[in-house]
Symmetry: C2
Subunit: 258 residues, 2 copies
Amino acid sequence: MESETNTATLDAFHRGRFHLVQPAARGHRSGIDAMLLAGAVPDGFSGDLADLGAGAGAAGFAVASRCPAARVTLVERAAEMADYARRSAALRENNAFAGRTSVIEADVALAGKARVAAGLADRSYDFIIMNPPFNDARDRATPHALKREAHVMEDGMFERWIKTAAAIARPSAGLAIIARAGSTEEILGALGGRFGGIEMLPIHPHEDEAAIRIVVRAIKGSRGGLRILPGLILHRGTPGYCAHAEAVINGQAALFGD
Amino acid sequence: MESETNTATLDAFHRGRFHLVQPAARGHRSGIDAMLLAGAVPDGFSGDLADLGAGAGAAGFAVASRCPAARVTLVERAAEMADYARRSAALRENNAFAGRTSVIEADVALAGKARVAAGLADRSYDFIIMNPPFNDARDRATPHALKREAHVMEDGMFERWIKTAAAIARPSAGLAIIARAGSTEEILGALGGRFGGIEMLPIHPHEDEAAIRIVVRAIKGSRGGLRILPGLILHRGTPGYCAHAEAVINGQAALFGD
C-alpha cells in the first residue's frame, strides 16, 4: 500500500527569488518546462494572467516574480496540488509577489456556465499560459494516480484547453503553451480561428538534437500566420545551460527576447 | 501586349556539375529552394524518384546529379516548363545523368484513373519530392500567367498533392516537401494517416530570424510522430552561405546529414 503522507520539499527557483512547496515524490514536480513557459511572457507584462493547469504553481509564480505588474491566477483541478500552491503563496520567501497571486480550483476543460461558476469569467485575462499534461494516453501510464493526472494527455485536450483560453482571454490577449513537438498539429488546429500571429520556438537539448519541447505563443483574434523562430539550444558542450537558456530559467530574460 | 518569345538562360548549379535551361523572365526560376529540397534526399539514395511540380527540373536534376543510382521522373503540368526540362536533359553538360531522367506532363492534382492514365502509376516510386506553388491565393497575384501558375497556391493543394504522393509511393517510400512555415498545419494534416516518422527542418536566413521555409520529410506508412530538427542557418554574418548550407546547395552534402 502507498503511503498517504504529504511529504513535501521546499525548492528555490530564480536563484532563490521565489520558492515552491512541492510533493516530494507523489505529484508532478515542476522544473525547467515551467520556467521556459513563464519565460514566454514579455518582460514588461502588466495585467491579469491565468496559469491553466498550474500544478503547484511554478510557472505562474515565476511570472509574478519576474513581472512586478502581473496579477496571477493559478488554475488547478487537483485539490492536493492547489493546496501546495496556497502553501507556497503563504511562504515568507514569496512575500514580494504572493499578494498578486490567487488560486482557483477548477478543471480547465470546463465549458460555458460551469466554467464561469468555477471562477473563470469570460474575457478577463490579458495573458494565459498553459503546461498541459504531456504524455500521450497511449504511452505507458505512470503508476501513481496523482503523477498520472499531471502527465497523461487525453485526446482533444488541446482543443478543450485552448477553447477555455480563448473564452477567458480579453481581446488581443497573449497565450503561451509548452508541449511536445508531436502536439504541433493538434495545437495549430485548436488555435485556428481563435488565436493568430503564432510563434513557435523549438527547445533543443543540444544543437544537433531534435526538439524535446515547443513553446507556442499566439495572440487572440490576430490574423497573422505562423512563424517558426530559431530554436533555443539548452546545452552547448560545456556543463550547465547556455547563457540565454540559463537567463530564462533564472527569470533574468524573456524566452522570446521581449 | 506581352512578348511570346521564349527567351531562355542557361544556368549552372552544383558548381557546374549540372545546367538548367530556364525562362529568362516569364516563368518561375529555380534556385535555392530547389537545391534545399533536393538535399533532403539521402546521399546513398537508389531507386525511382518523382519530382512533383518540377518546373524546369532543378530539384530533380540536382538529385540525379548527386545520387548516381537515382532514376528521376519530372512531373510538370505546364507544357512550356516541361519543354525547358526536356531541353536541359538534352544538354551535353548534363550527359552524366540525363539518361536517368524523364518528363511526364501531368497535373499533380489528378486522381484515380486519370492520374494513372497520365503516366503516374500507383506504388511505383521510392522517393517523392515536391516544391508546390508557395504563395497563398489571397496574396497579391503576380501579373504574368506562367509565373502565377508556379507561385499561387490553391486551398487544399497540399491535401491533393500529398494524396498523389501517397498513391504513387511504394511502401516505406520517402517524401520531402519544401514550403513556407505558414503551411505547417495543412501539411501535417495531409500527411496524417499516409506518412509518418515526420521530420521538420526550419530554414532560417540568419540565426536570429524566423524560418523562411520548412523542409518536411516523412515515410509512407510509418507510425512515428513528428520531430522538429535544429534549423539550418543560411548566413552567419560573413558574406555567402554557412558551410553546411553551401555544401547542400552545391550538392556536396545531404540536408538532413544522411
